[in-house]
Symmetry: C2
Subunit: 329 residues, 2 copies
Amino acid sequence: MAEVARLAGVSVTTVSHVINGTRPASQRTRERVLDAIERTGYRPNTLARALARGGTQSLGLAISGLSNPYFTDVVAAIEGAAGRAGHMLLLGDTREDPEHELRIVRALAERQVDGMLLAPTVGAVEHALPYLESQNVPTVLLDRFVDAPLDQVGCENEGPTAQLVEHLASLGHTRIAMAVGIPGLSTTVERVKGYRDALEQAGLPFDPALIAEGGSQRDRAHDAMLALLDLPDPPTAVVSGNNFMTIGLLRAIAERGLTVPDDIALVAFDDFEWADLFAPRLTVIRQPTAELGSRAVELMLSRLEDPGAAPRRERLEATFVHRNSCGCS
Amino acid sequence: MAEVARLAGVSVTTVSHVINGTRPASQRTRERVLDAIERTGYRPNTLARALARGGTQSLGLAISGLSNPYFTDVVAAIEGAAGRAGHMLLLGDTREDPEHELRIVRALAERQVDGMLLAPTVGAVEHALPYLESQNVPTVLLDRFVDAPLDQVGCENEGPTAQLVEHLASLGHTRIAMAVGIPGLSTTVERVKGYRDALEQAGLPFDPALIAEGGSQRDRAHDAMLALLDLPDPPTAVVSGNNFMTIGLLRAIAERGLTVPDDIALVAFDDFEWADLFAPRLTVIRQPTAELGSRAVELMLSRLEDPGAAPRRERLEATFVHRNSCGCS
DNA sequence: CTGTTAGCGCTTTCAG
DNA sequence: CTGAAAGCGCTAACAG
């Protein structure tokens, strides 16, 4: 930058100001500076700027399962929205592990991100969140809710899950199993609640044996499904708590030589972009992934603008996508 | 940090050294410093450190289609490998647009990333790459190859595509169509070459009418497939050039009320994690996505270690996954 | 309209 | 074993 100033015959101050347009400069000066910049191939050092200004124009994003198609869409949306607002994204995978999450969050915070977008693990309340709070890092939580005064955005879980179960019940199923995700996560808790409420509504008993602990993982759901099928009185329908588990369930069912929906009906939380190409076409709840991402960024932007505002919690609608793995048409 | 020094009754120099272990300090001093850090809730400012040291311990990652399941796995692998080496990831989506790619790459470079991992767009040679070169940013290219003396890693395309075509030919198909990706990308060029070579090997004529320009996009591939089916003499088999196009092709085929593989066989480049759940189960070429990501990081690390070394180009093997969309068993 | 100068928070000679 | 002080590249009062 000094080089540029020398070449243009002005002070670094002026260079800085013409670059940032932070104060008027004569036409001629501006041209000379711009020209010098061109000739030197000068590249502004954002770090130095951030240090001087206090503010990096970057956001930290910490989520789990970077390869989860659900989060993937969210990431894409966040990248877009953040970019439009002039923010870069610093990425970290929490691996759904509170300790690792803290490491990631700390690394991002030390890099002075202006704000943190986080899909909190169970355990965030003890680790990552207190840290962020103590360091005064503006935070918005996404996907999962937590009992803390923070900006949060996620989807409706209870109602939609109930809708899935009701649908199966209306089709005459009485033994409806559910593959549940990571214990303690608000998404899991809410979906289970939706499941139980719907059973009750339908006058069906809740049978703990029909709960398959899938830990939100493909393989665990697979094994749990096998176990369900081995029951003396196996379920005639199953609802999957998330996309990864859906894969596991389907594989297990196929392995046993059974067919969906003839031998067992299956409905799921989370849509796939190509869920209509599966055999059979999957009846699912679709979350507005892109909207989730962009809302999270919007919440962050308002938070940065007005740090004192009351925290907001937002629930996004999820939609029932009726195809035929439920046994219809 | 000054605060910490004061509290510990030492100089900032000492604080810095005990934090980094860059020089011995008495047991007692160290303890006092560590204690002071604890008490103040001090968080090191990585920016300031980077400014002073010149080196941010972060890598830029610029790719297109953050939601492409193929790249998604690559990103996950890169995040893991980079993290293990103590590097954070700065993320940007090129949107497969050279102009935007340059913007992204520039933004990342200005943030002083130590190196750039890039899946170059067609056009990178005119925009992003010259910029990176002029700024001396260590760069490694991934997925697509480019004619430039840079570290590059990607997969085998020609052979595997030929294998796909041979397989169809061996099944008796003579009208084999191909959905091709973005023109000019090395992946596209090589896959088309594999296709043509295999046709020739099989003694089949190359019919330009059987080339569907899919632009690596789902919808364009869909439309192109429809057009193929409307041909007076439509293909009896089609090979898809990448995962997004596969979706489009399958949808188009389904729309026409046709079935794979009975009415038309389909094989594809790129596996899906659940390609075995599709109807029918997809015969594909699977790229070693995780390996691609980790190799890219490894290349980067060696490059950073030895900036003068000769650039390396690496080709990773892709594997033929035989299922039954080809019409077998 | 432009320049001087004091930091931003940290590292690292160079001296003790 | 420890400190003083000079930067890293940039911004923003404060002066003119």
